[in-house]
Assembly symmetry: C2
Homo-oligomer: 147 residues x 2
């Protein structure tokens, strides 16, 4: 392998990014086409749907989003009346977020679609390949965590 040349097509960071981008783009149709949500909005909805109540900071940690993204996503979901904020009793900087009935309804509507999407994706792989991708992703995740 020529050390002067980098073969982009086989360069792992590039392949990973391109793959994730393609998958994410495809998946985004579920929340974008149906409800016009952005990715941060979807993640916020999803996080609150899953956990019930969270603060903005917690949301950011759970869904790997910068706090400005969280802030804007929360504002938009609030505007839609899909979530409400309740001030924290002890710390007046903090607000607890949770979905309204409408927000929860939207979440519940999309969850099966999301799961179906993932299933369909994995269904294109052999059992062996499924093991590989899950294992490979996990190992890279943990490798990145400790550093």
């Amino acid at each position: 392998m020529d050390p002067e040349i980098l073969e982009l097509e086989s360069f792992l960071p590039y392949r990973l990014y391109r793959l994730a981008d393609a998958v994410s783009r495809e998946f985004s149709r579920i929340y974008k086409d149906s409800h016009g949500l952005t990715r941060p909005e979807w993640r916020t909805l999803s996080g609150l749907g899953q956990r019930g109540t969270m603060t903005a900071t917690e949301l950011g940690e759970q869904s790997a989003m910068h706090k400005t993204k969280v802030s804007r996503a929360v504002a938009e979901l609030e505007r839609r009346r899909w979530l409400i904020r309740t001030p924290d009793d002890n710390d007046r900087r903090v607000e607890h977020l949770r979905l309204t009935k409408a927000g929860l309804a939207a979440y519940r509507e999309m969850v099966p679609l999301a799961k179906a999407f993932e299933q369909a994706l994995l269904a294109k792989l052999s059992a062996d390949e499924r093991t590989s991708i899950v294992k490979g992703v996990l190992s890279l995740e943990t490798a990145l965590d400790r550093r």
Copy 2:
């Protein structure tokens, strides 16, 4: 597994995206910190460094970028005098792009860093895990291609 709830942390599209994002962010320091390049600019440089001469369309195909990204990246690299355009003899819409000496120098400087980055990343994994990630990514790539 509760069918009403989606566990974001174990949802493959999310994990894939987060992983690629983290890796890409880390990697971007190589071209951003040293030369202030954006990702599309880096990919353009990289594509031309690897292949020698390409048209904008070919660049877009090779590096999975939308043509507006290519167009802007090419314009910027041209402004830096890192690449030059030569009109095609037969088709006057087409231009062939190639790196100048300065562009090539920058490319040659970054290639070893890029390779070292990839090596360092893979070095954190066991041989088994390395096989998994490569195999898993490949299988998903081909799964997405045929559709």
